[in-house]
């Protein structure tokens, strides 16, 4: 059953609280990026992807490959919510002998590929989408990239191949929060204009507010944007979204809140739930 936008908005708040809870518990994690991409994951897993614990071994399931593997905390809380594993497992995040490490691993049920090194998700997604075309299968392949990983050359190699093979069953989403560990994308390595670059490579591109549930839903519903072309969604997001003192601050790339900051953050999120 499709969730309403209000229900999805409620999920986003709950996911943000859990991301912070488990990062604080682990004393490690990529806080800012997990908060910037979680609305995208929410919409994907709750209204777009044909992926569930029950069909995860089916060759016909959709595929989601998280290229920006460091924001694994967002993925873990969504997978737990979808029933892939008990949420309590996340108390072991980054602990000795835990499977819940700081990047996606197939040892965790629901994770499609081991990622974490940047520039890997798109080539793997291209191969998986190509296999679907070869087998006349209807599944679709989605991958989430960080804007900071775009200078990795393998992305552009794969972008060429995706267009060459007309992979309109492939959708890449860029979590465009415009910040990376050293500073802004523009300062570190200016990749703008991302849309024109991908368009010139043969992709169909849409830009959305990556925190607007309705806009995300509409963009995913419009796939493929053009028959015979791979689709790119540039999701404009805010690093640290939802916690005012974290928003747009590089400090929170992998900053871990202390007790007081955590309580302040949760109170702010509770305020959203209460409609304040």
């Amino acid at each position: 059953m499709m969730m309403t936008e209000n229900e999805l908005a409620g999920k986003s708040v709950a996911y943000r609280k859990k991301i912070l809870k488990y990062i604080v518990g682990a004393k490690a994690g990529h806080t800012g990026g997990s908060l910037s991409c979680v609305d995208i994951l929410n919409v994907l897993y709750n209204s777009v992807l044909n992926i569930s614990p029950q069909n995860f071994t089916s060759p016909d399931r959709d595929r989601y490959i998280q290229s920006k593997g460091h924001c694994v905390e967002a993925l873990y809380v969504v997978l737990a919510d979808k029933g892939f594993f008990p949420e309590d497992d996340l108390h072991t995040l980054c602990r000795y002998k835990s499977h819940y490490i700081g990047h996606p691993t197939r040892k965790v049920h629901g994770v499609e590929q081991n990622t974490g090194a940047l520039g890997h998700g798109l080539p793997i997604s291209v191969g998986t989408a190509l296999a679907a075309k070869m087998d006349d299968k209807a599944y679709r392949v989605f991958t989430l990239l960080g804007d900071g990983e775009l200078p990795e050359g393998s992305n552009w190699e794969a972008a060429l191949t995706a267009a060459h093979y007309k992979l309109d069953n492939l959708c890449a989403v860029i979590d465009n929060n415009k910040l990376q560990i050293t500073g802004t994308n523009a300062e570190v390595c200016n990749t703008a204009p991302i849309d024109a670059k991908f368009e010139s490579f043969g992709w169909a591109v849409k830009q959305v507010d990556g925190h607007d549930i309705k806009a995300l839903n509409e963009a995913f519903a419009a796939l493929p944007f053009e028959k015979g072309k791979p689709s790119l969604i540039i999701a404009h997001t805010i690093k640290g979204k939802g916690i005012s003192f974290m928003e747009n601050s590089v400090k929170w790339h992998h900053g871990v809140p202390d007790k007081e900051q955590y309580e302040t953050a949760i109170a702010e999120l509770d305020g959203v739930t209460a409609g304040n």
Binding site: I124, G127, E157
Partner: protein
């Protein structure tokens, strides 16, 4: 030269020709076999494959990282993907994709390094792969093999299709005579093939150095009466430790030979095994020294560094004299 060698020179073809012919034959009966190439179908001898089975070849263009990443995606979706590219580029430029997308994610890509070792000869060190065993040995979950002759190549490709695991095979361009007419010596990944038996000394070689090693053994027998065991250790990892230790016990000395840097390959794999097991007999690692090679053809480079039949025989003689 002994009769064995003369018989074995019949019908030798380059191993990479045998690779492509075998793959094409198997792919004709299995639509899940996919060749993935990086503008390498010519040197990989896959032009006929592409014409015969156009839906089973994926051209990536010259982009090795993407070649391996795409092959991993294909493999994850059930395709028996053979990623074919010159060994030098495949195992250096795409090393992170091999490590993460193939081995760590356990996507069973069959990595095929063509024109391996110093096959490209005078094209120089950019095109040589003398590092591949070393770097790949340190990556978990990857079978590494260098078939020596046409028989081993054919068997390796057949088993690569059946073995649903990440693996790396390397092949050269030179026509390779059969090591033995006895195909009863089975090929199995992880099990060395004893081509010739003798108790004075063991030569453990791999890939295209097995043939000169066998010739050296014949020469030593003829000229000095030495009884030499020759092993085609086609699989570098997992190493056939049982065979190495058994021959260490049984024979008087051991030499390893490989078309690879003396660092990190077959020789050091054997050395660490032997040392850990208290080996104290004469031992030598033959390969390419730690330098950018002299200019020349593969044969000239082999001669220069003593990897020819004469060079290996001389090294054996010197090793036994030192004893």
């Amino acid at each position: 030269m002994g009769a064995v060698i003369e018989n074995t020179t019949i019908n030798g073809k380059p191993n990479q020709d045998i690779f492509s012919a075998t793959l094409q034959e198997l792919a004709g009966h299995d639509r899940n076999i996919i060749a993935v190439t990086s503008d390498s179908r010519g040197s990989g001898k896959l032009v006929a494959f592409g014409k015969e089975l156009p839906d089973q070849i994926v051209e990536i263009g010259i982009a090795e990282q993407n070649l391996v990443g795409v092959a991993a995606g294909l493999a994850s979706a059930g395709k028996k993907a053979f990623a074919v590219s010159p060994a030098c580029f495949l195992t250096a430029r795409a090393l992170e994709q091999i490590k993460n997308d193939v081995a760590y994610s356990n996507n069973p890509v069959r990595l095929i390094g063509i024109s391996a070792g110093v096959s490209y000869g005078a094209l120089g060190s950019t095109h040589h792969s003398l590092h591949d065993f070393a770097v790949l040995r340190a990556i978990n979950n990857l079978i590494i093999a260098a078939p020596a002759d046409n028989f081993e190549t054919r068997e390796a490709v057949k088993q690569a299709v059946q073995t649903n695991k990440p693996l790396y095979l390397r092949f050269g361009k030179k026509a390779m005579p059969a090591l033995t007419n006895d195909e009863g010596i089975a090929f199995e990944f992880g099990k060395g093939r004893v081509i010739k038996q003798g108790n004075d000394l063991t030569i453990i070689a791999t890939g295209e150095t097995v043939y000169p090693a066998l010739q050296a053994a014949e020469k030593l027998e003829l000229e000095q009466g030495l009884k030499v065991t020759v092993v085609s250790m086609h699989t570098i990892k997992p190493l056939d430790a049982e065979l190495v230790l058994q021959l260490a016990e049984k024979t008087g000395a051991m030499i390893t030979v490989e078309e690879h840097s003396v660092y990190g390959g077959l020789g050091e794999a054997c050395a660490s095994l032997l040392l850990a097991n208290g080996y104290h007999k004469p031992f030598k690692i033959m390969g390419i020294p730690d330098e950018y090679t002299v200019t020349g053809s593969q044969t000239e480079i082999f001669d220069h560094y003593g990897l020819s039949a004469d060079g290996i025989a001389l090294a054996v003689t010197k090793l036994l004299v030192k004893q």
